[in-house]
């Protein structure tokens, strides 16, 4: 299947549903061990109870913001790889802290297709919501449909 054929199959409005992810002390430890990010924001409940950060009182440990980033990446690449798409860009903003016990689910929606001089590009709107349906992270992503992998 050519890049053009794969690109033609993607339509604005296509929805990419991610898998739910529940945050526990184990998932935070795993993410720390994966990222080497052992900031006490994620590991020290007493310190988090006693301190404010940028005027915000979290009251307990928070999930690494980049766990959102990794889960969005997984959602996009799991959908793109079998469809011949190459993950090119991800831009994220954190809206709300994620705490122990929260269950978050990423979702991406194809917003636009952009053929360029020599490429086939697809834009996605991304949102990660918690168990109450509140957005905890939003973003945009870009994929390219190509015949070969760069490099």
């Amino acid at each position: 299947m050519s890049a053009q054929e794969n690109f033609d199959k993607v339509q604005p409005g296509d929805i990419v549903e991610g898998r739910p992810f529940t945050v526990t002390t184990d998932t935070i430890q795993d993410f720390g061990d994966a990222s080497l990010d052992y900031n006490p924001l994620h590991f020290d409940p007493d310190w988090m109870e006693k301190n404010d950060f940028g005027g915000t009182h979290f009251g307990g440990v928070i999930m690494h913001g980049m766990q959102n980033f990794a889960l969005i990446t997984r959602t996009l690449t799991d959908w793109l790889v079998p469809r011949g798409g190459y993950h090119r860009r991800l831009e994220t903003r954190w809206i709300k802290p994620v705490k122990l016990g929260d269950t978050i689910t990423p979702e991406a929606t194809v917003s636009r297709k952009n053929p360029t001089d020599s490429g086939h590009w697809v834009q996605f709107d991304v949102v990660v919501k918690n168990q109450d349906g509140e957005p905890v992270a939003t973003g945009q992503a870009l994929a390219e449909f190509r015949d070969t992998i760069p490099g």
Partner: protein, 159 residues
């Protein structure tokens, strides 16, 4: 055990006085970095621990059947490299550093055995309301000199 399988100081309070505060960060100055070689073991341990289970990262036969031609690392592995390639004195480790958002562009995928170098700076710093922000900019390249990915992000600095 962390995915690099090496001693890594997990107490970010140690050496805290050696790290640049917001006042000391000079936009444009290079951060101290070191090259890191990513073995298949490190790539797969990283993938498992962040929840990645795509066979592209684990199954050589499957990966060979795709345009990738072999196992690669998940694109998000810069999450590990941002810490693995910097030193314990790097200000990104300061306790209370709040990540406010990131954007990353991906070029060449990382493959097992690649040695990755990082070039990192603070691109900018600013104050918004009463919050002190630093903008960081990172470039990762492989042993062939190819760009792997570039990224920019903002953190709120601890006071």
């Amino acid at each position: 055990m962390n995915v690099m399988g090496e001693d890594f100081e997990t107490d970010f309070w140690k050496e805290v006085t050696d790290r640049a505060t917001w006042d000391m960060i000079v936009p444009g100055e290079l951060r101290e970095t070191r090259p890191v070689t990513l073995t298949k073991q490190i790539i797969q341990d990283y993938a498992r621990k962040v929840g990645e289970d795509n066979p592209l990262y684990f199954d050589e036969d499957y990966a060979k059947s795709t345009p990738y031609g072999g196992i690669v690392a998940p694109p998000s592995i810069h999450i590990l490299l941002m810490f693995a390639c910097t030193t314990s004195k790097d200000w990104m480790r300061s306790p209370g550093t709040i990540n406010a958002g990131q954007n990353w562009y991906y070029n060449v995928p990382i493959r097992p055995g690649d040695t990755i170098e990082m070039r990192g700076t603070a691109l900018d710093k600013f104050i918004k309301k009463d919050r002190l922000f630093a903008v960081h900019e990172n470039l990762f390249t492989n042993q062939h000199g190819q760009v792997v990915c570039t990224g920019r992000g903002q953190t709120i600095r601890p006071v």
